[in-house]
C-alpha cells in the first residue's frame, strides 16, 4: 500500500504514523475505517493514503490543543459589542435632543464612532480592546475604522503612494468588495420584486 515515495517523505516518522493510526482507531472504534480502493492508480492511492495519515496526526493535535474558551469569548464579544452600540445609541439620542431627525442624528453618530475607533487605534488602545472583544469590537463601525487606521499607520513608512495609498484597504478591502456586491444584489432584487 505504501510506495517508496511516501515512505521517503515520512523519513524517520514512518513507524510513528502507523502507530498514530492504530491509536486513532482504538480511540474511535465506531468510526468507519477508510479503505483504499484497489482500482485507483498509484498516484491517487498515495494521495488517499497520505490523507488518512494526516488525519491521524490531526486527531492527535486536536487532543493537545488548548480548548477555545467559546463561552468566555462569546460573553466578552457580547459585552464589548454591546458597550460600543450603547455608546452609539447614547450619542444618537443626545443629538436627537437637539432636534435632529433620526437620519441626521445617525449620520453624526457614525462620524463620531468612526472618529473614536480611529482615535483609539492611534493611541494603541483599540488592539487591546480587540484582543478581548473579538467580533464584538470588529463588527461595529469602530472596528472598520480600526482596520483602516491600523493599515495606514502600518504602511506609512513605505510612503504615501505605495504605502498608505496602496494598502489602506489591506484589511478592510474584502469588507468593501463584498459589501458592494451584496448591496448591488439587494438593489436588483428590490428593482425586480417591488
Amino acid at each position: 500500500m505504501y510506495n517508496q515515495n511516501l515512505k521517503n517523505k515520512y523519513n524517520a516518522l514512518f513507524n510513528i504514523v502507523q502507530r498514530l493510526k492504530e491509536k486513532k482507531e482504538q480511540a474511535q472504534p465506531q468510526k468507519e475505517k477508510t479503505t483504499i480502493p484497489s482500482n485507483l492508480n498509484p498516484v491517487e492511492q498515495e494521495e488517499l493514503q497520505k490523507q488518512i495519515d494526516q488525519q491521524a496526526y490531526q486527531w492527535l493535535v486536536q487532543q493537545h490543543q488548548p480548548r477555545t474558551t467559546w463561552l468566555r469569548n462569546t460573553i466578552l464579544a457580547f459585552l464589548v459589542g454591546g458597550i460600543i452600540c450603547t455608546l452609539g445609541q447614547i450619542i444618537q439620542n443626545y443629538f436627537r435632543g437637539f432636534g435632529l431627525t433620526l437620519r441626521e442624528a445617525g449620520t453624526v453618530t457614525v462620524f463620531i464612532m468612526v472618529f473614536l475607533g480611529a482615535f483609539l487605534t492611534g493611541l494603541g488602545i483599540y488592539d487591546k480592546i480587540g484582543k478581548y472583544g473579538g467580533a464584538g469590537s470588529i463588527i461595529p463601525i469602530t472596528g472598520f475604522a480600526n482596520s483602516i487606521v491600523a493599515s495606514a499607520m502600518e504602511f506609512k513608512r513605505e510612503g504615501y503612494v505605495y504605502g498608505v495609498g496602496a494598502r489602506l484597504f489591506n484589511v478592510a478591502g474584502p469588507v468593501l468588495t463584498f459589501g458592494f456586491i451584496i448591496s448591488v444584489l439587494i438593489g436588483l432584487l428590490y428593482y425586480f420584486f417591488t
Partner: protein
Amino acid sequence: MQQPIKKIGKQTLQFMQPPVVLSFASIVGPMEGKGPYGSAFDYILEDTLFGEKSWEKAESKMLRETIKMTLQKANLTAPDVDFMLAGDLLNQIVAANFAAREITIPFLGLYGACSTMAESIGLGSILIDGGFAHRVIAGVSSHHHTAERQFRFPTEQGVHRPLWSQWTVTGSGGILLAREGNGPVITHLTVGQVVDLGIKDSNDMGAAMAPAAVDTLIRHFQDLNRQSLDYDLILTGDLGTVGLKLTWELLKMEGYRVENNLKDCGVLLYHPEQDTHAGGSGCGCSAVMLCGPILRRVVEGAYRRVLFVGTGALLSPTTVYQGESVPSIAHAVVIEYIPPG
C-alpha cells in the same frame, strides 16, 4: 590524498576538529527582557524601534549590533572573521542583508525560517571543519512587528488570537565559531528533512513543526546510536506549549524516554502571565535563548552536552492563502563542553 567522509548514518555529520564557540551575544526586545531570563541577555531594547524610523531598520540594527558585540567579546574585529552566515524572517532576508552591508565580512544569507540559528551554526561548523575558514560568525534576528505585518495583520489591528498561536520574538543572537580556542565545541550536526503532516492552520505552527523536530531527533539518535537521556538538555527552537507536548507524545510512541531534559525556547522565554498564548516563535526565539542563558550555563558547566534543535515552519502568507499545508524542518547541533580543571 582524499579526505575521509565525515557523514555518519543517514543525516548526521561528525566534525573531526570540532569548531569552538569563542563568544556569543544576544539582544532582546523589551517584552523578552521582562521574561524569566531577562538578566541573561546582553542588551535589552528600551523600545521596539531601537532609535530607528522603521521596525525593519530596527531589526537590521539589532542584528548588526549583536554581531559587533559578539566580535567585541572575543576581542576581534571584522577582518579577523572569514565568513558571516546570517538570516531572518523577512522577505528577501533584508535584515541580514542590510546588516551585512554595514559589517564588512564576506556574507552568506540563509533562510530556514525559525531554524536559521541551527542552520547557520551547522554550516559555519562545516566551513571550519572543512578547512575553509579560521573563524565564522553566525547570527539571526526576528522582530515581532516586522514579522506580524508580513505574516499576519497590521500591529494596531484589533484581532483575537487563538490560544495555540505563538508570539514572534524580538531579538537576535550571534555566535562566533573558530578553529582553535577554548570554549564549548560543536561536535555534530544532523541536517533535517522537510516534513509535512498536513497542518493547514498557520497559527498552529507548533503542531506543524513537532513532526519535523521528532524526525530529526530520531535520525540523530539512530545515526549516532545515542539515547535521548545521553543529553543533559535537548533544546528545541520554538515549538511552544502545544508543539512541545506533541513532540513528547511522538517521541514516546517511538520508544524514546524524555524527561526534564526536553525543553523548548518558546516556552522558556516568557512568563505564562505575559499572555503570549502558546509561547514564543521566530528566528530570534531559539537564537536569544541559545546565545543568552543556555550557552552561559554551558560555559558555567551546568550542561555538558546539549542538543540544540532549531525548528522552522516553511510557510509564507501566499502559500497559506492558497490553501497549502505548512512544511517544516528541524536541524540539530550538538554542543559539548568540559570546563577546564
